[in-house]
Subunit: 405 residues, 2 copies
């Protein structure tokens, strides 16, 4: 079902100096399937991360935030699939810590130098014993194998790499991600991990990750539900000979951020392309807004509307639903007569209604495509935003209604 | 498909002194079907109304607001189905005014004493000539006939009446409503009209209508899409011998408001029961919130979640989805360990996870019902809210994806 999405060629996924990836089988998800991933990091790295804003954030998210705040340096990431350790209260935090302790003992660091991540069913206790028993059995693999090991209901593993050439230096980036809905049927989570061999001071990296998340993992919607476990983590190992980026004002900040953003966007879009029941990939481009918040609000109103999304599923150029969603996006002083809406390159609405030049045949031709861009020109400022979503199909309901039965 | 909803017995729908209802066939919706409703009002009435907040509000909504603001007294309501006159720009406003002029000529009043309402396809020009040609042919009927004449994709006409006995006086109320999604597949609108013979000063009635809307028509969600045409209008003809209510502080204000709210809630709930593809009627009760805004935010987060709604469709007691929706309702300082969630009378979640006493069998028994109440006790204040919604079925997608094909 995935829209124009194929597994990356493993040969194209770069190793990142300073990281070693391992996977194993803990039997949490199902017997005979890799469900445990361990990433061991060199000592001199820096880590930036953003997490779900959901108040019901999962136990591993709480522990990961604490360990980052402890500022002891991060030496390992541990990720299990099959169980999200969410909605599990104090026991869940104890369980996540127990996994960190086992990892710390194995790799020779302190427990607070380990970041735990979990994805899978929620409200079920984490099977800690299975995980700690499997840890000594994990085997060194490539990042592309880890992309497969962190999947839940994903149909395609998601991995990508980039190389940046700059002033005779090379910087490498590899990322993996999972998540086929913003939250799954009892399967929680979008997870994204990127490693680069760039050297970036921690506060600068944190700033970069926050900026990148805004235009990648925070610019997608499958069903509008914000998960309990969403995490996006970037590790910079500093093994590249590119001089260390010590400030946002450094000349190389923008170049490294641009490549990281491009990579993160590919991974985020892959999650949408693999969205539950998705048959179309839709970009909502909002321009000439007063602020980026305003542009994002309009983009998300369109991207979240079940009526808009079912119309895309039906390849129906249903302009009324798009206009209606713009109308309730919360811009109190919006002049609806001043804005323009395009489907692909076709002007479909202006002056508060259907454009005089619009023909149903032209709209229909755009809607028949598997990849569609809706552009909203608000004509009231200079800010812009891009939001990425998929259509809403009978299969989405089937997947989400039938999951536990 | 409607959930526990049947057409009212016409004999139970009361005439309201001071109102005369007519319906006719303009051929806007389809030949041979009543699609034009005219309500002629006595001179000494007062009118309160609330309208959609959507910035793409339809032409008749814009004209109705202008005519109410003109304060010349309202003598007629005219409602067509089959065409919403929305997304039609200046031509749409001219068309709505042309209908008002024709009604005014027929009933002997000024055009600004007429309120126009339209529901049906959007982005299509209103067929004014068909409507004005049919106006002289409308026939006097009962309110229950008007309930049928304003239907779009509704499967059941929605009408209800109440009688209030107070200090030896009688006050009568009759209401009709339409709308099977908050907005339809190209068919826009929730419309609600109530007439009462109570005498209520206009500013007091306006206040009462706003308060009543908050707990009835503004407390429902079918698909989260706010329509371009939504209107709720209450006419008080003053024909009852109950003394006129001239201030909110009047002793009879609360009693009249309570009956009006009860009637409006029945009509609003009827819209949800007749929701597109609905198989379950769901009440989300939020209590002990800090404010009613907070309670409504939590209620709507649950009521709008596609994941929660598909779980209800599947009769799946999927607590994780409910907890997750509470978590992203936007309460920054929410203590998730302090709240409790009930399905029916069954405590399902507390201390940040599943309740120790919960059994899947108990949850399953509640979910098998056609009417389900989810109660969220936030334990942080004294405010409450009730939000009403339906489940999200494969039929919803089918109705909304296939409508124009």
């Amino acid at each position: 079902m995935a829209v124009n999405l194929q597994a990356a060629d493993a040969a194209q996924i770069l190793a990142i100096d300073g990281t070693q990836v391992y996977v194993g089988q803990a039997g949490v998800k199902k017997a005979g399937r890799d469900d445990l991933t361990l990433v061991v990091l060199n000592a001199a790295n820096s880590v930036g991360a953003v997490f779900t804003q959901n108040r019901f954030c999962a136990a591993p998210v709480q522990i990961a935030k604490q360990h980052l705040a402890a500022d002891a340096g991060i030496r390992a990431l541990v990720i299990n699939t099959g169980n999200a350790n969410a909605g599990t209260g104090q026991q869940g935090r104890d369980d996540a810590l127990a996994v960190c302790r086992a990892v710390a003992e194995q790799v020779g660091c302190a427990p607070e130098q380990v970041l735990p991540f979990s994805t899978g069913v929620i409200l079920e206790p984490l099977p800690v014993a299975k995980i700690t028993a499997a840890l000594p059995t994990v085997k060194p693999v490539h990042w592309s194998d880890a992309a497969a090991a962190i999947m839940t209901t994903d149909t395609v593993p998601k991995a990508a790499s980039r190389t940046l050439y700059i002033d005779g230096h090379k910087v490498h980036f590899t990322g993996i991600a999972k998540g086929a809905g913003m939250i799954h049927p009892n399967m929680a989570t979008m997870l994204g991990f990127v490693a680069t061999d760039a050297a970036i001071a921690q506060p600068v990296l944190q700033q970069m990750v926050a900026e990148v998340a805004e235009v990648s993992f925070n610019a997608i919607s499958v069903d509008g539900d914000t998960s309990t476990n969403d995490s996006f983590v970037v590790v910079a190992t500093g093994k590249s000979d590119l001089p260390k980026i010590s400030a946002v004002a450094d000349t190389n900040y923008a170049a490294v951020k641009a490549v990281l953003a491009d990579l993160a966007l590919e991974l985020a879009q892959a999650i949408v392309r693999d969205g539950e029941g998705a048959t179309k990939f839709i970009t909502v481009a909002v321009k000439n807004a007063r602020s980026s918040e305003e542009a994002r609000a309009v983009g998300y109103a369109i991207a979240r509307s079940p009526l808009v999304k079912t119309a895309f599923y039906a390849s129906d150029p249903n302009l009324g639903r798009i206009l209606c969603a713009i109308g309730y996006a919360g811009i109190a002083d919006l002049d609806v007569d001043a804005l323009q809406v395009y489907l692909g390159d076709v002007l479909v609405a202006e002056h508060g209604g259907r454009a005089a030049s619009y023909t149903e045949a032209a709209g229909q031709a755009v809607m028949a495509e598997a990849e569609i861009t809706v552009t909203v020109d608000l004509h009231r400022g200079e800010a812009a935003a891009h939001i990425y979503t998929c259509d809403f199909s009978k299969e989405y309901v089937a997947i989400n209604a039938d999951y536990r039965s």
